[in-house]
Structures are given as structure tokens and as C-alpha cells.
Amino acid sequence: MPVFKVCMRIIKHNLPALGIYLAIFLGISVLYATNMNQEVDPNFSQSKIPMAIMSQDDTPFTEGLKEHLSGVARFVDLEDDKEAIQDALYFREVVYILRIPQGFTDDFLNDDYQMLEKTVIEDASNTYYIDLALDQYLNTARLYVGIESMDATQLADTVLGDLEEEIEVVVTTTASNQSVMAFMVQYFNYLGYGLFSILILGVSFTMFLLHDVDVKNRNASSPIPKGRIVREHIFANVTFAFAALTFFLIALFVLGVREFTIPMLLFVLNAIVFTLCALGISFVIGTLVKSKAAIHAVANVVALGLSFLSGVFVPQFLLSDTVLKVASFSPVYWYVRANEYIGQMTEVSPDRLVIPLQGMGIQLIFAIMFLSIALVIGKRKWGLKNI
């Protein structure tokens, strides 16, 4: 299989260029994998928000307030400097900064209330969350202040005692591990970008070289039939595509995901269908590019562009409707959509399979369409008939 071998040699020669994409992809994946929590926690745990308290009134009552807030907040040490505070807020290292003024407890016990200053991100859910907890502690204390005479310690103890009571929370989904699933969705979404970039580069490199006029003339004079050249070329690209996909799947295994569940199978199936589709697009690009430098430009713009618009980097629910409508004309959108639905699958039932399978079906149609376009352009432009 001389053509096949040549294609493989071209790809091998260009491995450093492909390696950059592999390295970026693996780097990001390792980063996400380290955040993955393999343990399944069946109990409900309250979300905790990064918060800073700057207190000039350290009393048992304000300590009690901090204790109550520790159920909803993770305290961050922050320098009391205007720019440091603005920096931390902007980058969401802390989202709620509370200042307790001097004499707050004494005034409170005398039924006189000083205001607490809060520096927050306006209208954010986090702000309402902390406000709710803060308000409950202080308003509960206020109920006692007018009625019983207590010192700061007694008041804090009484209020904290009252606030211990909790309602029962029933979590219906404990079977699947949300953290692993979230990682898988992210991994397979990123895989879409990594695989797409690598396929465009790899396939375009081989097509660009084999369609060089001199090489084409040389091949035309060889005793290999034209059909076989085309078949071997396609076979080489398909082999390359699936080798790349296998590499990504092995990487997933190495990163610690070793579950062989139905959602996992669906993720892999979706990735296989997407590989075919990306291959089709790469064929079209390969027949259209005119210079080697342009291959890099096209790979970046097409892969990065479609990935951005289709929700590979930013989840689809965060994208605006207009962007999603535009994106629905690209197979990446359907690939990501299928991944997100598979990731949310708490149980496997026929109606939950509809959307992922629909996504895969649309990708297959895209794949056939792109492959046909590539063949038509290839025949016209490069005169495959006459090779």
C-alpha cells in the first residue's frame, strides 16, 4: 500500500505541529481531572461562597454570627486595602465583604442597630444567599433583645441553638457521580476541539502534498490504478482519525476514568460519529487550501470558531439564543448537545436516549454531506478522473 504508507510518513513528519494541539488538550484535561471528585456524597451539602469579614467588634455575639455564616461561606483572608478588595471582588476570589463596626454588639444589645457595610457584586445570587443567612441570625437575635435581658454570650448561644433546627432534604439522584459525569462532559467536549484541529491539520497536510501537480503527475504515470490511490488515501486518513480518537480515549483511561457504563458507551459512540464528521470537513478544507501556512490559519479559525460558538468552551446554556441558532448549522453543536444530555442521564430509558441519538444522526448527515462535497470539489478541481 504505497499511498497509505506515504500518507503515514507525511503525518509522522508533521507530528510536532499536531503535538502542540495534543499537549494543549492534555494539559487542560489534566487540570480538570485533578478537580474531579471520585467519591459519591449521598448527603445534601450546602454551597459555600467565598467571603471576607472585617470586624472591628470582636465579641461572642459577632463570633456567633461568623459561626452561623460559616455554614454558607468559606472565609478568605483579605488585606484591608481598597485596591486589594476591588481586585479580589473582580476576580470573584471573594464575592461578599462584610464590615462590622466597633460597638455593634453593645448597640445591638441596647436595641439600637448600627448598619453593617457590605461590598458585593450587585444582584448576584451569592449576595442574596449570604444576606439570607446574615438576616436570619440578626433578626432572630432581635426577637430576643426586646424581651429577655441577655449578655452577648447568652444571646449568641440561644440564637445558634435556635438555628440548629433543619428540615430534611431528600436527594433523589445518588447513583451517578455528578463530579465524574461533569468531567466526562467537559473532556468529551474539549475532545471535539482537539480532534477537530488535529484532523484538519493532518488530513490537509496529506491532501496538500498528494495534490501537488508534480506528485500528481508522477502518480499518474505509476501502474497503480487511480481508484486504488483514492481508496488508500481515504483509508489512511480514516486510520489516522481513529488513531487520534483512540489516543484521546486511552488518555481518558490514564486520567482515571475507568467506568464502563452505558453513558460512557454513548459518549464514545458520539465521539466516533463526530470523528467521521470532522473527517468530512477536513476533506473539504484539504481540497480547498492553497498553501501550507493557510492550513494552520484555517485549522485555527474553523476549529476554534465552531467550538466557541457551539459550546465547547462555554456551556451551551450560557450562550445566547442567536449564537445557538447560528451554531445549530454546525455539527459541533449537535455533538456538544448530545454530550450534555448524556452527562445529565441519571437513568437509561428510551425517551432519554432520543436527544443524544438525534444529535448523532444529524452529525452523520453532516458527515455524508461534507464527504460528498469533498468528492465533488476534488473531482472538479484536481481532475481525479484523469489521475
Partner: protein, 371 residues
């Protein structure tokens, strides 16, 4: 002579399609994509009323009415349990409250909205407990307690955080503009290659001409700076007028910073082109790592990277010219005081001087015995 060389260098640089793509088209495409992908990101953290179902046998009971009117944070709908469970599974609701003998909160997953609702329900239950507690010991205070319950005190007052909106999307664009300025390094590199006789045929020809080498170099570098300034102007205009991104109200300073950034980018390229003794491809790769890697550390791909780097490896914020630029834009946007901005500018000027001296030392009086 200046006009002649300048004209031809401008033509050479603008006809280099590869460079033009990466310096001009790529940032515009990337900014459009970032804008499309991120324009909704600020809304994600905004609070929206939480839809919740209430499942109770007696829908008209006093407790149900009291609970439904207890907060604006939640939007209650009455449902039967089967309907509520189905809505929960279809993710139309984040959960439902079951008013059995004991109140229960049923959810499918954990998250911020679930946590808010749980906190509210806990507080609802706790307040009932507190009132019962007080009533047991001080039944005579009933009126006072009811009065205090009805007039819940607000204890906090918001203080303004910064001079402008804390829009997380901007950090990506600051890094992008900074990266584009640094892409000027490709032009600087091209100029450096084109005046060193051992690196290109064109340079060998130019070196024979009876004109001072530093003059030629200065003329070519000025062509690179002119193009880079034009490119950055196009990008800024595109961000401001087409994508309508508010980069802050200090437009003049933003523009001047970008001009300085362009000079920095071009000089960095010239420095890499003259000081390093390696192939042109390798030098191009170094420029890419220098600008793209720098932009990554300045927050181009992940919003929190810039802060994490500043907190953990502060020296990198000063050694990374892309970050100096991005931080200058950020300081202009965020802070009333310009102290941090000027600090960044001083470091940038320091880098420009360093790159110029490095380039000058390497280019001057270079003679070639044989090429």
C-alpha cells in the same frame, strides 16, 4: 531616503499575508468569538426567582399561605407529588417542598439555587421554633414578637465596589488587546531578519548600500510600528463600535497605552530576531509562545488565571509584558487612582529600553567575512 525605505517596508510588511492574518484577522475573529461566547456570562451570576413546587394535602391551609408569602426569592406553584416529581426530572424545577407531617425538600442535584431554598426553608422552620420558644417563656410578649416579625430589620447597607461595573468578560478582552500588541513582535522579527545579511538575501543586498545600518533599522522598525498601531486602532474600533464593548471611560489613555504596547511588541520581536542565534522558524515559535503564553497568563483563556498568577507567582506579572499591558487596561478600568497604571507603564518603558539596547548592541558594527 527615509520616505523611500519606509514606503517599501510598508509594502513588504502589508503584503506578507501570513503575518497579516495572525496580527489583524485572527484577533478580530477571536474577539468576535469571545464576544459571542461570553456576552451572557455576566447574567449567569445574577439572581433570578427560583421556581419551586409545593406539594400539600390541604392547599388552602394557613401554613401553606404563610409559606408561599414568606419570601420573594422563590416562586411557588401548587402541584401534586407525581406532577412535581415529573417536573423535577424534566428539570423544569430545581426541587419541591413536601408538606407532610414534617416538611421535606426534595431535590435531584445539589447546587446554588437548591442551597438558597434550603436555607430559606430552614429559616422558616427556625423562626417558628424561636417564636414558640419565646411564647413558652414569655406569653405576655406576644404582641411585641409579632410586631418585630412583621418589621424585619435590614442590617446591611451596600457600599460601591469600584468605579465601574465588575464585568468579568472584560479581562478576556484586555488580554486579547495586549496579545495583539505583542503580535507586533512578528513584524519586529521580520524587520530584524531583513537587515541581517546572514539571515536573508534581501538583508545582504541592503547591507551593501552606503547607508548607516542603524538608520536602515530605524526606518524599517518605524514601518513596523506604524502598521502595528494601525492594526491595534482597527481592533480597538471594532471592539468599541461594532461589538460595543465598554472598555472604560479613559479612551485616550487606552489608546496611548496601546500605541506604547505596539512599540513594545515590535521591539520585542526585533530583540528576539537579533539576539537569538537560531533558525527563523524557531524564532517565530518563540514569538508565538511569548505572546500566546503571555496572554494565557494574563487571562485570555481563563478568567481567574491572571489573579492566581498574581497571588502565587507575583514576579511573573512583572516579567510578562502581555500582563503588564493587560493590567494597565484593567487598572484604567477599575481604579480611581492611576498609581498602578503608571507602574505598569514604567515597567513597559523599561522593557522597551532593554529590548532596544539589546538589539542595538547586536546589530551595530556587525561585519560578515563570508555569508
Amino acid at each position: 531616503m527615509y520616505g523611500h525605505i519606509l514606503k517599501y517596508r510598508l509594502m513588504c510588511l502589508t503584503k506578507d499575508k501570513d503575518n497579516m492574518f495572525w496580527i489583524l484577522i485572527f484577533p478580530i475573529v477571536l474577539s468576535t468569538l469571545l464576544y459571542a461566547a461570553l456576552s451572557n456570562i455576566g447574567n449567569q451570576e445574577l439572581f433570578h426567582q427560583i421556581p419551586l413546587a409545593l406539594v400539600a394535602e390541604e392547599e388552602e391551609s394557613e401554613e401553606v399561605t404563610r409559606l408561599m408569602n414568606a419570601t420573594d426569592l422563590v416562586e411557588f406553584q401548587m402541584m401534586d407529588q407525581t406532577e412535581a416529581q415529573a417536573s423535577l426530572e424534566n428539570e423544569e424545577l430545581i426541587g419541591y417542598v413536601l408538606m407532610d407531617e414534617e416538611m421535606k425538600f426534595v431535590v435531584q442535584t445539589k447546587g446554588m439555587e437548591q442551597s438558597i431554598v434550603r436555607l430559606f426553608l430552614n429559616h422558616y422552620r427556625q423562626t417558628v421554633g424561636t417564636v414558640e420558644n419565646i411564647m413558652r417563656n414569655h406569653p405576655e410578649q406576644m404582641g411585641s414578637v409579632v410586631n418585630r416579625l412583621e418589621t424585619r430589620q435590614v442590617f446591611t447597607t451596600p457600599v460601591s465596589a469600584a468605579r465601574a461595573k465588575l464585568d468579568p468578560m472584560l479581562i478576556f478582552f484586555f488580554a486579547l488587546i495586549a496579545m495583539t500588541c505583542m503580535y507586533g513582535a512578528y513584524l519586529g522579527l521580520r524587520e530584524a531578519v531583513d537587515i541581517q545579511a546572514n539571515l536573508s538575501d534581501l538583508a545582504a543586498r541592503i547591507n551593501i548600500a552606503p547607508i548607516h545600518k542603524m538608520k536602515t533599522f530605524f526606518y524599517s522598525i518605524s514601518a513596523a510600528v506604524i502598521i502595528q498601531v494601525l492594526i491595534i486602532s482597527v481592533l480597538l474600533a471594532y471592539l468599541q463600535f461594532v461589538l460595543k464593548i465598554n472598555l472604560g471611560d479613559r479612551s485616550v489613555l487606552i489608546y496611548l497605552t496601546s500605541v506604547l504596547g505596539s512599540v513594545l511588541g515590535v521591539m520585542a520581536g526585533a530583540f528576539i530576531g537579533t539576539v537569538l542565534k537560531t533558525s527563523e522558524n524557531m524564532k517565530n515559535a518563540i514569538v508565538t509562545i511569548f505572546s500566546l503564553g503571555g496572554a494565557y497568563l494574563a487571562g485570555l483563556m481563563n478568567f481567574s488565571t491572571k489573579y492566581t498568577v498574581a497571588e502565587n507567582v507575583p514576579i511573573l506579572t512583572v516579567l510578562n509584558p502581555v500582563n503588564l499591558l493587560a493590567d494597565a487596561y484593567y487598572a484604567l478600568y477599575m481604579f480611581d487612582s492611576l498609581e498602578r497604571y503608571w507602574m505598569n507603564i514604567m515597567y513597559m518603558i523599561g522593557f522597551i529600553i532593554l529590548f532596544f539596547l539589546g538589539t542595538y548592541m547586536n546589530v551595530r558594527r556587525r561585519k560578515y567575512a563570508s555569508i
